[in-house]
């Protein structure tokens, strides 16, 4: 079996060219979990774990570039992510358990593209984009909303790997938050998750984006939620009203599903919890 462990972009491009149908892996917290107890064979595996340049969190123009091979714990603990992109830090801090957070990567979460993934909703709410490279070394940028094509399928070609995620630096009064509900309090796959980003001034939401996940085949930005939140006060009442709106939306989006009665109620609590976090954050920052 061909096992590639590139350490720079040239080696990565070369490995991508030789991969022909093989798997790109990093922390393997999904890749190996999926193969547990099964006899599996791969002709080729490309491990990104030695690509140090893809483990950086640094400014790139007016964006923050978060390397695709950054592990969840690194992103959750990064002071600059916590300050400017709290929704992403919150999401990463709640993926799996400590051991998974020390190995699982942002790029891996997007690459696995589970409908319940916790990284995609903040990426959507924060208007992020994926910087992607192919086997010829050509780099392109894919906006978050164009990244997912359906359950388990991304917009990446078979010879492409995600290099970094680009997050535009937030406006001065912009805050964000993330929440999830699962079967357990911790170490749980999301039954429903939500990321909200909002520009807040004098206790009033000027504009907002809300991404709902674990409902549709992939997380998506709710246009109705964004339209509703604009101009509303940042209060618990607005959070409850958001919960009502999302409840109706969940009822529509997964009308026939067995989990719908549960999820249309769970989303109310989730919206309220998330709003409590946003309110606390706004108070901390004097907004």
């Amino acid at each position: 079996m061909n096992f590639f462990q590139p350490t720079n972009r040239d080696e990565l491009a070369s490995a991508l060219a030789s991969l022909s149908g093989g798997s790109i892996v990093a922390g393997c917290t999904d890749f190996l979990a999926q193969r547990n107890g099964k006899v599996w064979h791969a002709d080729a595996i490309l491990s990104l774990t030695e690509m140090q340049e893809l483990k950086q969190i640094e400014l790139a123009g007016d964006s923050l570039a978060v390397g695709a091979v950054c592990v969840h714990s690194q992103v959750a603990q990064s002071p600059v992510v916590r300050q400017y992109f709290p929704a992403l830090a919150m999401a990463c801090s709640q993926v799996g358990c400590a051991q998974i957070r020390n190995r699982g990567t942002l790029g891996g979460s997007i690459g696995t593209s589970s409908p319940a993934g916790d990284v995609y909703p903040p990426l959507l709410a924060l208007c992020g984009a994926a910087e992607v490279m192919n086997s010829r070394g050509a780099v392109r940028t894919i906006p978050a909303r164009e990244l997912m094509l359906g359950k388990g399928k991304t917009a990446l070609a078979s010879d492409e790997a995600i290099l970094r995620f680009l997050l535009p630096l937030p406006a001065e009064h912009e805050i964000s938050a993330f929440g999830k509900i699962g079967e357990r309090h911790q170490v749980t796959i999301s039954k429903i998750n939500l990321a909200v980003s909002a520009v807040v001034e004098n206790g009033c939401i000027q504009s907002a984006r809300a991404a709902l996940g674990a409902v549709a085949p992939h997380a998506y930005l709710s246009e109705d939620a964004a339209a509703f939140l604009g101009g509303k006060p940042l209060t618990a009442e607005t959070g409850a009203a958001l919960g009502d709106l999302l409840s109706s939306e969940v009822e529509r989006v997964i009308a026939g599903r067995g989990s719908m009665p549960y999820k249309r109620e769970a989303v109310r609590g989730l919206a309220q919890d998330l709003f409590a976090r946003l309110i606390a954050l706004a108070q901390e920052r004097g907004l």
Binding site: M1, A33, A98, Q186
Partner: protein, 157 residues
């Protein structure tokens, strides 16, 4: 494939298929059976080891991925002065019944305390939330880790 890495402080060489799981190399090739294989999918934590001082699941790490890196297993704790106090802390707080979860719990504690020497109770609970104890020693384990944190801070003075 030849893999060279530091195992419990010593340079170690193994020959294995690159995708062979670290837990299997440790247990079957190197006969270090402290690390357990409880679930194989990152749910139970009994396979926890330190990789570059961070707690990870050895059941979801390929041996090729530790090439050039540092691994510490439960067998290496007592000879690592940074984390050795964790062992007597577990013993003295009766944090062990059947012992099956113990290596994983000790390694999760080591990963926590190496990166956060003064954890709150919540932080300790979070650090071991990926380790299942079927004997339900959780309260004693929590106290043991609090004791270890205290003892390690004293030792550092």
């Amino acid at each position: 494939m030849e893999i060279r890495f530091y195992l419990n402080g010593k340079e170690t060489v193994v020959n294995a298929p690159p995708e062979r799981l670290l837990v299997d190399v440790l247990r079957e090739d190197l006969h270090l059976t402290g690390t357990k294989r409880g679930c194989g999918e990152g749910e139970c934590g009994t396979c926890t080891v330190l990789l570059n001082d961070k707690a990870v699941h050895s059941c979801m790490t390929m041996i090729a991925q530790v090439n050039g890196h540092r691994v510490i297993t439960s067998e290496g704790v007592e000879s690592d002065p940074r984390i050795a106090p964790i062992v007597p802390a577990f013993v003295n707080n009766m944090a062990i019944q059947c012992g099956y979860c113990t290596p994983g719990m000790v390694m999760s504690a080591a990963g926590l305390l190496l990166n956060n020497p003064d954890p709150t109770e919540d932080e300790i609970r979070t650090a071991i939330s990926g380790n299942i104890c079927r004997c339900s020693c959780y309260e004693q384990i929590l106290r043991a880790i609090q004791q270890a944190a205290h003892d390690m801070k004293e030792a550092a003075k």
